[in-house]
């Protein structure tokens, strides 16, 4: 039974648009029924919620829900909306997919959509005293003047709880109990990997609850994109997850190319794939370095940086940038590879294969290191899927979620590589996934590096690109998970809405589940092993 028939069987009034993505539009009243039906389907449960994208369509507010099945990898997008702009209520699905807890908070923060029965409807990125909802199209940009006062933390979370009859419950959710010892970790802290703030309740040294507070580096990139032309939007993608700069931009370029229907030259695809994989090795080396440093081992940190330097040199020679590369363009890549590119990359791979034993000798086999990681920070398979922890952190929990494998793009369909999956679910497995992926990435590069076809590296596009009306989305396997792009276009030269699926956001959300019952020291080590980058979370 096709996914369409299944939806129609549950909600007969659903309508479909197939102009780009397959989107099922359902009224808010029957949305909850459909969500439950898809989530608990016998044959093909849609158990992975990729994203919730809040939307403002002018007369109505609503959201896209991107779902995927972890069995068949079928994807579907649902659309639901409410026309009440004063008090927009949509049913929460946070009991079906845990990741909705935090994604609904994001939609509430930006669009003011209240999700009924989500117990925690606080703002997540913006200050609690922020006026208005900035992503609404009628938002006045001058409505918030610079506020220099200290921000206090709410004692209770906002919520919109209703009982079965639709009567609002007068129940308050206290975030931390009065007698709890709450340690504030971040935003200025050596090992939160950026300006992340974790309010952590501890008993002695044991963590009992983690409440992430995001937004300290929020730049409103999605909002900015709504007033930038398509080629201009590219510049901001590298500033999301700076360790997956090239992959992020790859995703956006692919999405725009798909929307305007241009084929890019094969040479560009090869180059993109190789640079993506180099970027992945770069990111995993930094992961190795930072994880060890989070655990107090300062020396291996330099090993990672020593070898990462070679990649950065190659990237610099190719793209002109080391961290922020601005290399992908709509229709190909910015510049051709330099003449010794293949030689340099092959020399790096040879060097890396020869030196990786040092990593394993000083770290992987170290008794302190293994006892600190093995069995710590268990993220079960169900939790990983429900929380949407994609990437290496999900694959360490036995979840086969590699986008490169299951939804191949660029050259990934044509190369042979293994999807690294571990079933231990602990921090050590998360570490090993990365170490093995370095080897797999090198294998991918080796298959491509000698076969780069001659030809153009860029197809000429018009300076003003107008994307035909519709909703388009792509996803790539970025360094730390599935990075998604959603463009809703009204046929203009600027996107009506451009949304990124953050790879780190679900990982930060998962910290509460993973860290409970562990020690403070493990909180830091688990944070390191989860591998999140804050500018990508805050966007």
């Amino acid at each position: 039974m096709s996914i369409k028939d299944r939806i129609l069987a549950i909600v007969p009034e659903a309508t479909f648009t197939e102009q780009a993505d397959l989107i099922a539009t359902v009224p808010a009243s029957s949305f909850r029924k459909l969500a439950e039906g898809l989530r608990y389907d016998k044959e093909d449960p849609m158990d992975f919620m990729r994203d919730i994208v809040g939307m403002d369509w002018g007369e109505s507010l609503g959201a896209y829900y991107y779902l995927e099945s972890t069995k068949t990898y079928n994807r579907i997008a649902l659309r639901t909306e409410t026309t009440d702009r004063e008090n927009p209520l949509l049913p929460s699905v946070c009991d079906l997919w845990k990741t909705a807890e935090i994604k609904e908070r994001e939609a509430y923060d930006f669009f003011g959509i209240k999700f009924t029965n989500n117990p925690d409807m606080r703002r997540i990125f913006l200050r609690d005293n922020w006026v208005g909802f900035p992503f609404r199209k009628d938002y006045d940009l001058n409505s918030n003047s610079l506020d220099m006062s200290n921000e206090t933390n709410e004692e209770f979370s906002d919520d919109y709880l209703f009982d079965a009859d639709g009567k609002e419950l007068d129940k308050k959710n206290r975030i931390f109990g009065k007698k709890e010892f709450v340690v504030n970790i971040g935003p200025q802290h050596p090992s939160t990997h950026g300006v992340l703030r974790l309010r952590t309740s501890v008993v002695g040294e044991t963590v009992t609850k983690v409440d992430p507070v995001c937004g300290y580096i929020h730049r409103g990139i999605e909002k900015m994109n709504e007033s930038l032309t398509y080629p201009q939007t590219l510049a901001l993608t590298d500033r999301l997850d700076y360790l997956a700069a090239n992959q992020n931009r790859h995703a956006l370029c692919m999405c725009i190319e798909k929307a305007i229907g241009i084929e890019i030259p094969e040479r560009a695809d090869y180059i993109r794939t190789i640079i993506d994989e180099l970027q992945r090795i770069d990111s995993h080396l930094l992961y190795f370095a930072c994880l060890i440093m989070d655990m107090g081992g300062l020396t291996p940190f330099f090993y990672g940086f020593r070898d990462r330097e070679i990649i950065l040199d190659i990237l610099e020679k190719t793209t002109g940038g080391r961290l922020i590369q601005n290399y992908n363009r709509i229709g190909g890549v910015q510049a051709d590879i330099y003449p010794e590119f293949q030689k340099d990359v092959k020399a790096f791979i040879k060097h890396m294969r020869g030196i990786i034993h040092e990593y394993h000798e000083v770290v992987t086999g170290n008794v302190i290191f293994t006892t600190r990681l093995k069995g710590m920070g268990i993220l079960t398979n169900e939790d990983a899927i429900s929380l949407g922890c994609t990437g290496g952190s999900g694959r360490a929990s036995g979840w086969h979620n590699d986008v490169r494998k299951h939804h191949p793009y660029s050259m990934y369909g044509k190369v042979d590589f293994k999807e690294i999956v571990y079933n231990e679910c602990d921090s050590f497995a998360r570490y090993m996934v990365r170490m093995d992926e370095i080897m797999e990435s090198m294998k991918i590069i080796e298959q491509l590096i000698d076969n780069i076809p001659e030809g153009d590296y860029l197809v000429k596009t018009k300076p003003i690109i107008r994307v035909p009306e519709g909703v388009y989305s792509t996803s790539v396997e970025a360094s730390r998970g599935e990075f998604g792009v959603l463009i809703e276009s009204k046929g203009d030269k600027v996107p009506y809405r451009l949304h990124y699926r953050s790879t780190g956001f679900p990982l930060v959300h998962a910290m509460d589940t993973v860290c409970r019952g562990n020690k403070i020291a493990d909180l830091i080590a688990i944070g390191g092993s989860m591998d999140y980058v804050i500018p990508d979370i805050d966007r």
């Binding site: 090992s191 040294e205 107090g296 330099f302 090993y303 302190i368 600190r372």
Partner: protein, 365 residues
């Protein structure tokens, strides 16, 4: 055995000559006062000089482990870097906290540095060159070195900072635990040498270092000592009381200027003291290295002054401890305590028993 070589560089006659001369020209009490002051100044100077050497050494050693060069800009090979840093820390403001317990907050660094200097003054540098030398020297050493934990807990408690408090509690739990092991090891070696006087322990090693004479139990004791001593000095992999990745700086997060400097100095000197005591009780203190039978070799060794032997051995152990610190990641508090209570302490007790048996049966030399 001929112990005459010990007198070659003996400076006890010089010091007693100075004492006699001073006593002959002034009242005895006054002479002692002047001597005490001179020694105190000399000790504090030596303390500062060793701190500077150790900081420079740590920077260079860790740099070489980490594929770096370390400080290179200030002076040749960065030799003046530490002086510049010391000068900088001296002129920095000492910040007073609004809600801290000010008396305890300001007292804490002095308690820590006091404990450290007192322990420092027990070290036998050379024959005749030892400031504090009781017949219960080992006992005194353990007692004064334990004062430090009071300072650390005071610092963490009075700062009114949650990180500081957690760091101090960790430190308290850890240091008190590891002192048991240290005590056990000291007892083992006291059983072997039959004296608690530090100079006595060194003298007894004239015919061979304890680690060779005491073979199996001495080697076990030496390893336990290195682990426990490392923990006592709050250094990696046992640096969880300051754990910069977790607690930013642990118990001294809130300190600035020279108050922070005192903690910093004490940390480095504790490393030196731990190594110095290891040298004293296991590696013969200022005794030269002898191989029985090679008289020519032994004679050459005798010409090397004792203080060089002492510093050489001590800095070797300092290097080993730095090697450990810059290789291993940090342990977690429960692992640290489990290591002590479940492994080191029982092992230390058994080792004490073994040493006693071997001593009684005459199997240690």
């Amino acid at each position: 055995m001929d112990n005459s070589f010990l007198d070659y560089y003996n400076i006890a006659p010089v010091t007693s000559w100075i004492n006699d001369m001073l006593c002959s020209i002034m009242p005895q009490g006054f002479a002692y006062l002047i001597e005490g002051l001179v020694i105190a100044v000399a000790l504090i100077l030596a303390y500062a000089v060793f701190a500077i050497i150790l900081i420079y050494m740590e920077r260079k050693v860790c740099a070489f482990f980490q594929l770096r060069l370390g400080p290179m800009r200030v002076g040749k090979w960065g030799l003046l870097q530490v002086f510049a840093d010391v000068f900088k820390i001296l002129i920095k403001e000492i910040i007073r906290l609004k809600n801290a317990d000010n008396l305890l907050y300001e007292l804490a660094p002095y308690v820590v540095i006091l404990a450290s200097i007192l322990t420092f003054s027990c070290l036998p540098w050379h024959k005749g060159l030892q400031v504090i030398d009781y017949n219960i020297g080992v006992f005194f050493l353990l007692a004064v070195s334990s004062i430090e934990v009071v300072g650390i807990i005071l610092a963490g408690w009075s700062s009114r900072n949650k990180y500081s408090l957690i760091g101090a509690m960790r430190s308290g739990a850890m240091m008190i635990s590891y002192e048991l092991s240290l005590g056990m090891v000291m007892l083992t070696m006291v059983v072997m040498t039959g004296t608690m006087s530090i100079s006595g322990i060194v003298e007894s090693q004239a015919n061979g270092w304890n680690i060779f004479k005491g073979h199996i139990p001495a080697v076990i004791a030496f390893i336990i000592y290195l682990i426990a001593g490392n923990a006592e000095a709050n250094r990696g992999p046992f640096d969880l009381s300051e754990a910069e990745q977790e607690l930013t700086a642990g118990y001294h997060t809130e300190y600035s200027g020279m108050h922070f400097g005192f903690f910093y100095l004490a940390e480095y000197l504790n490393l030196f003291i731990v190594a110095g005591i290891a040298t004293t009780i296991f590696l013969g203190g200022w005794m030269p290295f002898h191989v029985s039978g090679l008289d020519g070799f032994n004679a050459i060794m005798d010409y090397v002054p004792g203080i060089i032997w002492f510093l050489g051995k001590t800095f070797f152990i300092v290097f080993v401890l730095m090697w450990i610190k810059w290789t291993f990641p940090r342990l977690r508090i429960d692992q640290v305590l489990r290591l002590e209570w479940k492994y080191l302490l029982p092992l230390g007790m058994l080792n004490l028993l073994l040493m006693a048996i071997l001593k009684v049966t005459g199997l240690v030399f």
